[in-house]
Symmetry: C2
Subunit: 152 residues, 2 copies
């Protein structure tokens, strides 16, 4: 296997995965520290997707860390395919959740109803921004892994 | 070039492109026949993206029709790369617009305020559904063209 930066098992990939996990956790915290999120479908969707994203990123970060610091296993095309498909699906879902959250937060702010008590709506916006950053890193990982796949 | 079904210049691709254009036009009509869409950011976003989607799909449908019915030009890797990149970018934007519209329409319905006069909100939902279908076909086109790219 060529040492493609960003593909599974490299230090760049480890950095990407850790970034995804950190942004996902930040997005989840901004959303969940308030208890009102479950009254909006879009926010529940974001929480669900982030709950899928975090374990996925952390598991692959562990695999990368093992590969970087301990021993580089020979890549298995089957496992790589699963990683690529999972990455793409999660990347689409993260984008969908981020867009839903952003548009609902925007609507709540412009409608100027009794929804935005205190700094609540800015927190929703921050949560959406973190989800977008997480999506961006996840897309980068997906593209690098997809690039590597035909050479296996 | 192998005759990969669904790649640029085949009849399957022509069908996919026509489907995208039809669903995009339907989504635009469901949204725009009402004049209130511009008061919501998400709906303006959907209209913008559909306005990009329709000429893109129709242009590529024309290319496919020419290739199927008149004469098959030899594929150029440069042009194929532009088509693949444009497809992916538009596919992501369509997904984003569809999700935003769906979540805002859902919020308007559940908030049961004075927003949904008549059948307005069902029309927003239908528009989002059409945008999702258009995204699905656009994703299929992108995957087929991406698959073809390394063999050029």
């Amino acid at each position: 296997m060529d040492e493609l930066p960003g593909a599974l098992g490299t230090s760049a990939s480890l950095a990407l995965r850790l970034g995804q996990a950190i942004f996902s956790v930040a997005s989840l915290l901004f959303m969940c520290l308030d208890v009102e999120f479950y009254s909006y479908t879009a926010f529940c969707f974001l929480v669900t997707i982030m709950g899928l994203d975090i374990p996925w990123s952390l598991t692959l970060a562990l695999v990368d860390a093992f590969s970087v610091f301990v021993k580089r296993p020979s890549p298995q095309p089957g496992i790589m395919s699963i990683v690529v498909i999972g990455d793409w699906v999660l990347s689409f879902l993260t984008l969908a959740a981020a867009c839903s959250t952003a548009s609902v937060a925007d609507l709540l702010i412009t409608s100027s109803g009794p929804f935005c008590v205190g700094k609540l709506c800015s927190r929703y916006q921050l949560s959406a921004a973190m989800a977008f950053l997480s999506w961006f890193l996840s897309l980068a990982s997906s593209i690098f892994n997809l690039w590597l796949l035909p050479s296996l």
